[in-house]
Symmetry: none
Subunit: 413 residues, 2 copies
Amino acid sequence: MERKILLAIADGLGDRPCDILDGKTPLEYAKTEHLNYLAEKGSTGIMDLYQAGSPVGTDLGHLILFGYSIDDYPGRGPIEAFGNGMELIGGDVAFRCNFATLDNDMKVIDRRAGRIREGTEELASALNGLEIDGVKVLFKEATEHRAVMVLRGPGLSQAVTDTDPKKEGLPVKPSLGKDNNPTSKYTAVILNKILLEAHQILSKHPVNISREKQGLLPANGILTRGAGMMPNIDKITERLNFKACCVAAESTVLGVARLAGFNILSDESFTGNIDTDIEKKASFAIEALKYNDFVALHYKATDLMGHDNDPLGKVKAIEQFDRMLGLVISSLKQEKMENVVIALAADHSTPCERKEHSGDPVPIVICGKNLRKDNVKCYDEISCANGGLNRIKGADFNRILLDYLEVTPKYGN
Amino acid sequence: MERKILLAIADGLGDRPCDILDGKTPLEYAKTEHLNYLAEKGSTGIMDLYQAGSPVGTDLGHLILFGYSIDDYPGRGPIEAFGNGMELIGGDVAFRCNFATLDNDMKVIDRRAGRIREGTEELASALNGLEIDGVKVLFKEATEHRAVMVLRGPGLSQAVTDTDPKKEGLPVKPSLGKDNNPTSKYTAVILNKILLEAHQILSKHPVNISREKQGLLPANGILTRGAGMMPNIDKITERLNFKACCVAAESTVLGVARLAGFNILSDESFTGNIDTDIEKKASFAIEALKYNDFVALHYKATDLMGHDNDPLGKVKAIEQFDRMLGLVISSLKQEKMENVVIALAADHSTPCERKEHSGDPVPIVICGKNLRKDNVKCYDEISCANGGLNRIKGADFNRILLDYLEVTPKYGN
């Protein structure tokens, strides 16, 4: 059978028993007939994304779910760049940026340039393509005052300090090398030159002249943070020759997906919160399965409720995730797409009581026609710990799914 | 108690639910009272030979079961050489060969020299011991037109291309270095000289003169493929100081066993298929246990049925494997060999629906007097996933068995 994979990821799903939920986890407490259906029909287990007891971020968690290792982790900058639609190559150094308002002495008047919303595309264009000492600048606006900058050239380093002083009234912090490697100092020097040059260019830009006329703060400076170097890794879809797609709202998840070579399906109605449009998400996932071998369907609100220490909110989010899976399952049946393996996972646990990511393992399911099943009937942290997949790592989980696509190498003969 | 180990390996045993077997795996469906007896009396689990989700070949699977890691994998050539009764040392480069019929311009007339069956021992002798530029040739005939050649000398490389053009009418392909390492080019040059010299020697050989008189195609050339370098690994039986034996039919398995320092027990009645002589296999295993600490008893037909997508055939093969274990168990009882630990394993899964090796884990059992037991009562993929050994790797499994022999090192003090 030529299988396809639908991997549904509930962000931060894993949790701990909550007093307010009669000592159950939100996932145990929630009514989840569709998730339980998948658990009953499939094999279950628990998963440590990186290693037992180690919390991971959303970015690394997804990087692993999509087939990479912690050694491939490029830091925030490159992931934001990919999430922002940029294409990086090995050796590029990427920064998360703010448009800011500076005075003539590079002192920060407003770190967000009056929360500028319009004209940033033109401002970014004015910086994009800049070249300083043989290093090329790629620059692209993001939401509101945010932007991403990429430096491309030989001998760059990501070990440079942030230039954002984090406080109004202070000057832009000159970047320094974080270590004694000469490439770090070299990169910091270039970065400082670029920020000076950017200030010159932006100060004269028509968008800013017009803003000043309207009494708005000009976006005449750039603050950088989160430098990260893009490692020399290939897109997993190209390495293993399969087609993949990610249906998601969050730019971090979309960034990791694009880094991995996935196509992207997003929509304004995907809010990354409890008011997201699960009908459209489910229908996008079904459509994507027609043209892709592997589809990741991401759901965010579970994580937010964990961070907010809102067990009942998390229960609601889980029940919404369950409804989304119900829509997926019934559409697959209706379209007679029997060859789709449905997998459930999370990128990490976000226990309500901790309000942060934790190292608790997450429950997993793999459910497909003629694949092995076990005796577990519920999708939750406790039941799945008795499952037939046992306790595996994120890398194992990804490899198992790709083995069902028959795209991974056989070792030996 | 001074224990001994009997490791019974059903090749390619692991499978997936089959429609024709009411949604059961062949192992679940088969009547296997003896395998279930061992599961009930022992501890069970599931095993990933190399890593979860990665298919392995029979050669690597056995290499791991016998105590080696993937880094020790030497490629096909050396394993064929060992299987063919040759002894390799670290740095040797081995090739799988055909005797072929060439014309005077080294063009291939028949890739198998008329499927020659007789006289290959004499022809091989004529090449064995040849020396070119300080590199020694070891040459040995195998079944029919097949042979194995080993090059021994300093500075050789396995990164050389095959010389078999794979098609009649084409000349022998001169071997080339596969990379820029000078040792690769050097090895390719030597290999080409040897093949020219072999053509000279074989063309004049009495066996071939006689063949030509009878109107048969002469075996006057050698075609090579599958170069592999023997790594610097020691025999595990010598490293850990125990005696081991392998009862098997298949030359690949016998090759890995000899590489590992196992003695070999084989017989013409061991066919590597469903018509093999399980009574003799069982009795060989019992005999071997009297003189060895560790005996591997290999059974092949399960894998063949998987490759043929023959679930009912696989059920039959499994029931034959079960009968073989029944004979072993009753003989051990009869001979009061209470100290024998019986372990069940497979080298990989070969799901019928896939007709190829897959990354699905294989079920395992370890059953020995006064060793731990669990609550699992059936030997199959689903039951054993709940077993007391949990999900372990092939390397773990081997180490656990050798620990019962008390031959592995203790770490720390």
